[in-house]
């Protein structure tokens, strides 16, 4: 069977690419520290020696629209073009092309439906910065095939938080039952407290540092029950109007497992939001 080589949960900050590649007067003062932290985080994936990446993210009204909005969607295609005009315009993100792993996509779709998730499917999916940001930060060579998994954290009505956790558990079971001997890393990105298009946006820190501290503790300690006891679809409005993206972190807690302490934890307090990076090695860390 395949091996779950690493589980990685991260924020996806679309400004990292521009900050990390800018020079001279254009380079923000926090860029060097940010790059150092990202490079250390990248090493945690490199050490796991993955063959294929399952990438959990959320479309930001790019390809998926309100006339036909899936709650959970798995891509099944040989290639995924990536990043959109408005991401190039606002964040300076480059157009990219990712390889797909159709066999694993087909397996996750079939077995996922049989396990109780009526997953939507796409044979032609252009992925956005929720998936390209972790490629840029964690695997900038973009040399591995992926399976994209999209969640709806954006267009109400949303699935309940516990459904994200359950999908994470199911994804782990499916990866670990996939015939073959490939090493799979599951990488998911979301947000801590975040406000976009509201009165608390773009402050000197994230809109709710107290929520962020609790969230980091839940994730780092694998405290799924504690997290589920406090987080509801209604409660997530309080830390910031885009904080429902935290549910992708909850999905990744489901992949890592209840009580699973993260092997690597790092954060960076930036204007506008807090960056957070977590890695688990379910079968122990790979050798150097």
């Amino acid at each position: 069977m395949a091996e779950l080589a690493a589980v990685i949960a991260s924020t996806h900050h679309p400004f990292f690419y521009r900050a990390s590649t800018s020079t001279g007067r254009d380079r923000p003062p926090f860029a060097d520290e940010w790059v150092r932290k990202v490079e250390a985080f990248r090493e945690t994936l490199t050490r796991a020696r993955p063959d294929v990446l399952v990438m959990v993210g959320s479309d930001h009204f790019h390809q998926l629209w309100l006339d036909n909005m899936p709650q959970f969607l798995v891509g099944k295609a040989p290639y995924y073009d990536a990043n959109f005009y408005n991401e190039q315009r606002e964040f300076g993100l480059p157009r990219m092309l990712l390889h797909g792993h159709e066999d694993l996509s087909a397996y996750l779709l079939r077995e996922g439906m049989d396990a109780g998730f009526d997953l939507a499917m796409s044979n032609e999916l252009r992925v956005d910065h929720s998936i390209t940001c972790p490629i840029i930060t964690l695997r900038p060579g973009n040399d591995l095939p992926i399976v994209p998994v999209y969640t709806n954290i954006f267009a109400p009505p949303l699935p309940q938080p516990k459904r994200f956790v359950q999908l994470g558990r199911t994804l782990r079971e499916l990866v670990e039952s996939w015939p073959g001997n490939q090493r799979v890393a599951v990488i998911g990105t979301g947000h801590l407290s975040l406000e976009l298009g509201g009165p608390r946006q773009f402050g000197p820190h994230g809109p709710d540092p107290e929520f962020d501290a609790r969230a980091v503790e839940w994730i780092a300690s694998g405290d799924i029950d504690g997290c589920l006891s406090e987080v509801t679809l209604d409660s997530l409005h309080a830390p910031g109007n885009a904080t429902h993206g935290f549910m992708d972190f909850m999905l990744m807690m489901g992949v890592a497992g209840a009580g699973a302490k993260a092997d690597y934890v790092d954060t960076l307090d930036l204007f506008h939001t807090m960056e957070a990076y977590f890695t688990w090695y379910p079968n122990g860390a790979a050798g150097p």
Partner: protein, 120 residues
């Protein structure tokens, strides 16, 4: 209430560079043209099929036609769509990084939780 249609306007204009500029320069004219020519277009149909019933409420039309993003927030337009499009149109007019985004927050500062419902 036609929150969906307001979101559809923001979504379709934001993804089209020419429409972004046209809406910046001529908001009332662009909104009138879009409501007449584009509002009913089914985006997922390759044959150009259309709906027959889409129309803005007067307050929605007015908010879009006057670039009134605080009013759009109050009407429950999706804040990510509004923010993204308005950054594309107006960030260029500010000298300081994030100058527009911070003014945007200030102009919404009279809102407290719970914010207007964005469900469509």
């Amino acid at each position: 209430m036609s929150k969906y249609l307001v979101d559809k306007f923001l979504f379709t204009v934001d993804r089209d560079p020419e429409l972004v500029e046209r809406y910046r320069e001529d908001p009332a004219g662009t909104v009138a043209w879009w409501e007449a020519e584009r509002a009913n277009r089914l985006l997922g149909c390759h044959t150009g099929e259309s709906s027959t019933w889409q129309a803005f409420e007067p307050g929605e039309r007015e908010a879009l036609a006057t670039h009134d993003y605080p009013a759009l927030f109050g009407l429950g337009a999706h804040p990510f769509l509004t923010l993204t499009l308005f950054i594309a149109m107006f960030e260029r007019d500010y000298d300081e990084p994030l100058g527009f985004q911070q003014e945007y927050a200030r102009r919404l500062s009279h809102h407290s939780l719970p914010y207007p419902d964005i469900a469509t």
